[in-house]
């Protein structure tokens, strides 16, 4: 058996007599085979089936007519269940473990159903698809695991007549399928968490920072997690491979702490936003309930760390709980953010000032770019109505419309550039590329209509939406020119002001 927490000392197990072997003495009559008669045996030794020198459950059926257990075996079982060293108490038993597996399985399945039913496809099409993929993978992974665990238990029941906890836990820690899918699920959920935090920030520059930092941290933490976990699992499955356990002893707890620190940071960001937008969060009963569930979900993972430190039972099953925690903290929080932003937009729509526009939007000309892209897309589309073959090329040309024109008068010589310039150019290209992909996520909500204009077919729904957009921005009547007359606007309050001032003036003159 491989212990998952290789960085902790194993507690010294008790010496159980039934596991070491009991000398039953002579005078035992045994009937071993059908074709042989009953035999008389001298000096009989009896040894119970034990897992890692600890007693296990018997799967045999007991009735009133069954022989009683030996006194020594009963004493051993009492010591095992009352002592805390060898996972003997009921909370470490197979029943508690099975309950955890199935509960996590049901929760993951429910979350997947919630994702497919309630999460809106738009405006974050990519992120919502990612969330669906992650939750589906988690459900599939847990389904496979539950089936495998039941198969292991059935085999033990049929061949050995026991119910072993260690066999199920070994499956959890050494099954490569479970680990590979778990790796993907956690990575996807972490990326979704990054997307959620990006949605909470309104400014473009902050979104960029969150995206870059979040994605880098997610990938680094997952890669670091994969190194000790897969090494241990592969070495367990392939005994001939060399495995330097001592070298990875330090990495394993570090990654464990890194994950906890990341989830604590995520929880603090969400809780801070709940605090700052508490009026919206408590606006109605449904939103308040969702907020409470959100707080519970994001605090669950740091909470498990505390439980883990205090109780080894949680540590044994941490991977199962981790999967559910990650999926829950992505799905529930996503739903909460959706509701929160809808309420926020509603409040903004009802207010005089409307949606706030930040200086970042102005500085990077996002609105100008959006308007240009919109205009360009619609004018091209109307010019080449019905020709859908060259739409992909048009789409590719859009960024060139926005980008500043190149200096065509520049004379270039075949001079070798200095190394510093080359490095700077390369670095700036990398930064520009990263910024472009970041903005692709950020600006997507602005340009999603524009992009979808090219990709959609000529359905009625599409035409209606296109007509609406054209009408909104005034492209449906391009030849009509309006001349506006300037006129002074006189408000009632001003008239009153004038009247009061005139009255005052009259009174002064009379006096």
């Amino acid at each position: 058996m491989v212990k998952k927490t290789s960085w902790r000392y194993d507690q010294t197990p008790e010496n159980y007599t039934s596991c070491l072997g009991l000398a039953l003495g002579d005078g035992i009559i045994l009937w071993t085979q059908n074709d042989r008669s009953v035999g008389y045996y001298h000096d009989v030794q009896f040894q119970s089936y034990c897992d890692d020198k600890a007693p296990v459950y018997s799967a045999l059926r007991r009735t009133n007519e069954s022989f009683p257990y030996l006194d020594l075996i009963e004493e051993d079982w009492k010591v095992f269940t009352e002592g805390g060293n060898d996972h003997g108490p009921f909370k470490y038993s197979i029943y508690a473990i099975l309950l955890s597996f199935t509960a996590n399985f049901v929760i993951a399945l429910s979350l997947t159903v919630i994702v497919f039913i309630t999460i809106r496809q738009k405006p974050y099409r990519g992120a919502s698809n990612l969330l669906k993929l992650g939750s589906s993978l988690a459900s599939v992974n847990l389904t496979i695991f539950v089936v495998k665990a039941l198969k292991v238990l059935r085999d033990d029941h049929a061949t050995k007549g026991i119910v072993s906890t260690d066999a199920v836990l070994n499956l959890l820690w050494n099954d490569l399928t479970f680990m590979s899918l778990d790796f993907l699920v956690v990575l996807i959920c972490e990326l979704c968490q990054v997307q959620i935090i990006m949605r909470l920030f309104s400014r473009v520059r902050e979104k960029r920072i969150v995206f870059l930092v979040g994605v880098v941290l997610s990938i680094v933490s997952q890669v670091l997690w994969a190194i000790p976990t897969f090494t241990q699992a592969i070495s367990e499955n392939h005994q001939d491979l060399f495995y330097d356990a001592s070298g990875l002893t330090l990495l394993s707890p570090f990654v464990y702490l890194l994950r906890i620190a990341l989830s604590a940071s995520y929880a603090s960001i969400i809780c801070f936003h709940i605090f700052t937008k508490r009026q919206l969060c408590l606006q109605n009963q449904r939103m308040a309930l969702l907020t409470v569930i959100t707080i519970l979900m994001v605090l669950l993972q740091p909470g498990f760390f505390v439980a883990d430190v205090a109780n080894i039972w949680v540590d044994d099953l941490s991977e199962i709980f981790n999967t559910t925690c990650y999926v829950g903290s992505a799905v529930i929080v996503w739903e909460w953010v959706d509701h929160l932003l809808i309420l926020e937009r509603k409040v903004q729509a009802q207010s005089v000032l409307g949606r706030p526009v930040y200086e970042d939007d102005q500085q990077d000309y996002y609105f100008a770019k959006y308007a240009l892209k919109m205009q360009d897309a619609i004018s091209r589309d109307s010019g080449k109505a019905g020709t859908s073959s060259s739409l992909g090329a048009q789409d590719a040309e859009i960024p060139n419309q926005v980008a500043p024109p190149r200096d065509t008068n520049k004379v270039e010589f075949n001079e070798s550039q200095p190394l510093k310039d080359v490095i700077l150019e390369k670095v700036s290209k990398v930064v520009d590329g990263m910024t472009y992909y970041t903005d692709h996520f950020i600006v997507k909500r602005l340009v999603i209509k524009t992009l979808s204009l090219h990709s959609k077919g000529s359905s009625d729904d599409y035409r209606q939406r296109k007509a609406t957009v054209r009408r909104r921005i005034g492209l449906d009547r391009p030849n009509e020119v309006y001349v506006y007359a300037t006129k002074d606007v006189v408000f009632d309050s001003d008239e009153e002001l004038y009247n009061s001032q005139e009255n005052l003036g009259n009174q002064d003159s009379n006096s």
Binding site: W7, Y9, P253, V309, Y498, Q501, G505
Partner: protein
């Protein structure tokens, strides 16, 4: 208002820095400060000491794991060597002694916090405080600083719970203070960015002040009354003077 906010941020970071220094100078540097006391041993970041004999292990990151390496145990007597060789639990949390090498995050975190504190002090000056690059750098630097502070607290929890002493818990306070300071720094960066943008756009320095319609109206009324007394020119109302810009905070 802005300068007092920056002073508050600087103060929070200073307290966080002090709270991070205390665990780092724990035993064997300062004998009265220790991260944990368990089984007759007091543990610090750079080593551990036996409280009965008052003898400390050599100062290094990570606790001595065996007596085979002579250079590690120059200060230990035979009794302590025998104690080390015993396979029993050395740390309160049953973590292996190798894990104590993770205490390296303490000095690293202190370094990050110290640089953050320097940046916070720097942005209190008029010149650097208006630089958007410096402010962005400070906000970005605060991310790993908070993260490492949290990590060092978690390492202490992992190694010493349930016998973690007060210097270990100070790290939690330090992490919270730095987190709050970072959030405030984000606000400062936003306001400076906005002010710069307004200044660039309007070509003048904008002072933010609350809306005072009633006061402005009464002043306007009084002024118009005086003007009407002096001359017969038409009275100007607020709406006819669009150059007067009122901004709310």
């Amino acid at each position: 208002m802005a300068s007092s906010l920056r002073l508050l941020i600087c103060g929070l970071t200073s307290i966080a820095l002090i709270f991070q220094i205390i665990p780092v100078i724990s035993i064997p540097v300062v004998h009265s400060i220790y991260l944990s006391h368990y089984n007759g041993r007091a543990f610090g970041v750079f080593g551990w000491c036996s409280t009965s004999t008052n003898v400390c292990a050599a100062r290094r990151i990570g606790y001595v794991t065996s007596c085979e390496n002579g250079s590690d145990t120059v200060d230990l007597n035979d009794f302590e060597c025998a104690e080390l060789e015993s396979p029993g639990e050395f740390l309160p949390s049953r973590a292996k002694r190798d894990i104590s090498k993770l205490l390296i995050v303490h000095p690293i975190s202190l370094f990050f916090t110290f640089l953050l504190w320097l940046l916070m002090v720097a942005i209190n000056s008029r010149r650097l405080g208006q630089s958007r690059k410096i402010l962005t750098c400070t906000v970005l630097w605060s991310l790993p600083a908070v993260f490492l502070s949290l990590l060092s607290f978690l390492v202490d929890i992992l190694l010493f719970v349930p016998f973690l002493a007060w210097p270990g818990w100070l790290l939690l306070v330090s992490t919270v203070l730095m987190g709050v300071a970072s959030f405030m720094m984000c606000g400062v960066r936003r306001s400076v960015s906005l002010q710069k943008y307004e200044k660039l756009r309007n070509g003048e320095h904008i002072d933010l002040f609350p809306l005072q319609f009633e006061k402005a109206r009464s002043e306007d009324l009084q002024g118009s009354r005086r003007r009407s007394e002096e001359s017969s020119t038409p009275v100007q109302t607020l709406l006819e003077r669009p150059e007067l810009v009122h901004r709310s905070v």
